[in-house]
Amino acid sequence: MNVDARYGIDDAPVFVIDQSRCIGCEACVQACMECGTHRGQSLIHLERIDRAATTQTAPMVCMHCEDPTCAQVCPADAIKQTEGGIVQSALKPRCIGCSNCVLACPFGVPKYMAEIDQMMKCDMCTDRTSEGLKPMCASVCPSEALWYGTIDEFRENRTGSLLRDFMFGRQEVRTKVYTVVDELAAGPIDVMRGQAASWLDDPFALESGGT
């Protein structure tokens, strides 16, 4: 590629996902298809939280767990992690299409592709990040809900603290990908406590009779 590399190894760039900033435009979904390791397949998720009630949406990329549940439950030993901590798509010769990983991943990330009877998942655009380029989704994301850069760059441009610890019931999971919270003091993100909450309470003032 004659596209200038952006980051060297010493820069130690990180991936940051901040679901709260998502505007649901699907640039990431479209750009994911352009990733060289899985051209034509979009592996990112974009969730409409509850469209009947809200326009809230959220992307989900692979968080690249330090100890990936998906890999542990794989009966074919098909899910591998690079030295850099990237959890790869299932090895194609090994994956036997059982979907254990799809069902066990606490973040709901791997996709079972029925057509090819294999699991595929986000690999943080290995073709790009291995050359110092930003992943596709984090390159295009208009709202910076998906972001890639150095921790210094994050501190310069954004507010909030970076966190990569999550609680799923009693299970704590640490990931390579960071998320953003206001305060670290509250500890890991407690996913099972995630409740629908509306920032805009009664947007049309229907309860107060319109005044």
């Binding site: 034509g40 996709k111 319109g210």
Partner: protein, 743 residues
């Protein structure tokens, strides 16, 4: 004889829209490319930088352009899939002539035959009915060079006054308001000012879907602690995070702005020094809002009184603030009033000409800014000059080397052209990149009008729905097939670079126009051999006008990642932020307040048509969809229009999510699935407008226009909503797993 030669279904079968599923060679072809071309996205006024990958005269992919300062690599879904409009099976690659007996309804002809036919029809019609009986309609996704050329072509080759452009449906209310109040028509600020604002107020703009990249600027302001005020009938995605949501009833924005000004005055949240030193007519504006108390406005607008007061307080007491508006307040019969009302708020609080301060429109179409400056509006000459002003005419005549009298006078605006065609006053039409059948209001009327043309020729790269009516189709060029400049919504002149040659016999638009001019006997005015020459002439023609490009060169534009006009001489740094030091562009250097009394929209709800209809866009489609309805991945994102309605309205109508409803206005009717969501006012429905035929939202809209700007009132109609029987299985059209794959 401009009736479609075959049925719509037959024409669609032959000319599309068909879906381009994958890049040339397929997804598995690897991503070999020979070169990367720095250029811009063509799909909205933000003009994001993008690098196109080219292999063998085909665009095969893209790469983010991280170094372009406006978007730093960011793109919306349209930008990502932009490259798939090339190498498309629907592309028109040779000239065609209407022929009912030919398969597909059009027969292939030579360029000579096609151009001679166009010229002979122009002559025949103009000889029989006069020069103005042949009109030209143009699109504003074209480069500055083409826009300028079209203005000159219509006046000096076609000799018609009746040239107008589809920015008439997009930018004219903002343009007219800006000129009246500020003396110049351009965004007040570069976008880098948005993060510096303490209050960001968006009025009638669905940022997330229509200007997605602007989101990052607003989020940066939020990161700094800015407050966000959102004025919209819908909780559009960015409104979800608003500190203050103003759920304005369609067509009542000027009442809201009036009440806020009323509050600013009542609490004396005014910048008196600024008003005294830099503005005129404050008293008139103040008098007009004397009775517009928040309680009164709450009744009219449906926005709770307390929220109006809160908005006034935040706007009036913050040191900096930016108000961004778009088609929501502009596409109304009061579009100019609304813009003036917004500008009044900026002037009253001194929020102009300073970092983080401004009231600005967000330009919609690709070259909606540059395309509205250089003379392809019916009343305009290059440099945003006035075609009725003798001095302006003399300057342009001197650049063009023609007699002043050769330049026709003021023509009629786009919608009036369509009405004049319908009335039989205009008999012939040449259009370029304009699909009025989808984009004009009251599409059944537009169809009748096109049917009545004696002769219709289109220059386009795909056969649009309007193109079905054409007698001659001339295959023009895509954005990536020609070189030139455009001017982004910030007022930044940028360079568009050609990535590939037009395929087959297709030609660059400017070459077609120059050839036509030659055949019309005006070749001596159009001696161009490339687009750079056109730009050099544009610089001279614009010099001294408000939109002054004299100092801009292609070299500097590329080297400096764009230049902000006005740029009156070479070496001038350009003008990113307007009005610095309180200098406005009226002759006395002052801005002008305007009295904006409230009046009703062109149509109001009643017992027969009790629901408000407002129309707009979705993120995956662009304008009339001629390009974006041909790209599979974009179509998959939102395949067909839905009728958004609140659960309370749905209950009254007696439908649930996914049930088909029939929406009827005095103009027409449309049947489509209900999308029942609590994110829209209960008295309003929303339908996006990108689709043709029986899926066209514009079947319902009205031909009422703003008296000043002649902008049609797309945003306000009165309709009736009834159950149609039947339903679709899901309204979750945004099937996020585009490529299949479970869960």
């Amino acid at each position: 004889m401009a009736r479609p030669p075959l049925t719509d279904a037959e024409l669609i079968d032959r000319y599309g829209p068909h879906l381009n599923q994958a890049p040339p060679g397929g997804w598995n072809a690897g991503i070999e490319f020979d070169r990367v071309v720095d250029t811009h996205c063509c799909f909205c006024g933000q003009q994001c930088g993008i690098k196109l990958k080219v292999h063998d005269n085909e665009v095969v992919g893209f790469e983010p352009w991280y170094d372009f300062p406006f978007n730093e690599g960011k793109l919306c879904p349209k930008g990502v899939k932009r490259y798939l409009q090339g190498s498309h099976p629907d592309r028109v690659v040779y000239p065609m002539e209407r022929d009912e007996t030919a398969p597909g309804g059009f027969r292939r002809v030579s360029w000579d035959h096609a151009l001679d036919r166009v010229v002979s029809e122009i002559r025949r019609i103009q000889d029989a009915y006069g020069p103005d009986s042949f009109a030209m309609l143009s699109g504003v996704s074209l480069t500055n060079e083409k826009s300028y050329l079209i203005g000159k072509f219509a006046r000096l080759a076609l000799h018609t006054a009746n040239l107008d452009y589809n920015g008439r449906y997009c930018m004219v209310s903002a343009g007219a308001g800006n000129k009246k109040a500020l003396g110049i028509d351009r965004a007040s600020n570069p976008w880098s000012d948005i993060p510096l604002a303490d209050v960001v107020w968006t009025a009638g703009t669905n940022i997330a879907e229509t200007f997605p990249i602007t989101t990052s600027y607003i989020w940066k302001a939020r990161d700094r602690g800015a407050r966000l005020i959102v004025q919209d009938p819908r909780v559009v995605p960015h409104a979800r995070t608003a500190d203050l949501f103003l759920p304005v009833r369609p067509g009542t924005d000027s009442a809201l702005f009036g009440a806020v000004l009323h509050e600013l005055i009542r609490h004396d949240w005014l910048d008196h020094d600024f008003i005294d030193a830099h503005t005129n007519d404050f008293d008139q504006a103040a008098a007009a809002v004397a009775d517009m108390a928040p309680a009164w406005a709450a009744d009219i607008t449906g926005v709770p009184r307390a929220r109006i007061e809160q908005a006034a307080e935040w706007w009036g007491t913050s040191a900096t603030g930016m108000l961004l508006h778009a088609r929501g307040i502009e596409q109304q019969s009061k579009g100019v009033d609304n813009v003036l009302g917004a500008i009044n708020l900026g002037l009253a609080t001194g929020k102009f000409g300073k970092p983080g301060c401004g009231v600005t429109t967000i330009t919609g179409q690709g070259n909606g800014q540059g395309g509205r400056e250089h003379g392809h509006k019916c009343d305009q000459l290059p440099g945003n000059r006035d075609i009725t002003n003798p001095e302006h005419r003399a300057h342009v005549a001197s650049v063009w080397g023609c007699d002043v009298d050769e330049i026709p006078g003021k023509g009629i605006p786009a919608l009036e052209i369509i009405e004049a065609i319908h009335a039989g006053e205009i008999k012939g039409l040449l259009s370029i990149c304009f699909n009025p059948l989808v984009s004009s209001p009251d599409s059944n009327f537009t169809r009748e009008a096109l049917d009545r043309l004696e002769f219709y020729s289109v220059i386009d790269f795909f056969v649009s729905e309007s193109g079905h009516h054409a007698d001659v189709i001339l295959p023009g060029s895509l954005h990536e097939e020609d070189e030139g400049t455009s001017t982004s919504g910030e007022g930044r002149i940028i360079k568009i670079n050609a990535a590939v040659e037009p395929p087959g016999e297709a030609r660059r638009d400017w070459e077609i126009l120059v050839d036509l001019a030659d055949r019309l006997g005006s070749g001596h005015y159009f001696p161009y051999t490339d687009t750079h020459q056109i730009f050099e002439e544009l610089r001279l023609a614009s010099a001294g006008g408000t939109a002054d490009y004299r100092g801009a060169t292609w070299e500097r534009i590329e080297a400096e990642h764009g230049l902000f006009w006005p740029i009156p001489e070479e070496g001038h740094p350009g003008t990113p932020r307007l009005y610095e030091g309180g200098r406005f562009y009226h002759p006395d250097g002052r801005a002008k307040f305007h009295a904006v009394p409230y009046r009703l929209p062109g149509e109001v709800v009643d017992a027969d048509y009790p629901v408000w209809l407002t129309t707009g866009r979705v993120v995956s489609q662009y304008l009339s969809g001629t390009q974006t309805r041909r790209i599979a991945a974009l179509v998959a994102q939102y395949p067909e229009p839905l009728c958004e309605m609140h659960p309370q309205l749905a209950e009254r109508v007696g439908v649930a999510d996914g049930d088909l409803v029939t929406v009827t206005s005095r103009r027409g009717t449309i049947t489509l699935p209900a999308h029942v969501v609590a994110t829209i006012r209960p008295d309003t429905v929303f339908i996006p407008y990108h689709w043709p035929g029986d899926k066209a939202a514009n079947q319902l809209t009205q031909r009422v226009v703003d008296p000043t700007s002649k902008m049609p009132e797309f945003k306000v109609s009165a309709v009736r909503v009834e159950p149609a029987g039947g339903r679709v299985t899901t309204t979750d059209v945004r099937d996020f797993d585009l490529q299949g794959g479970a869960t």
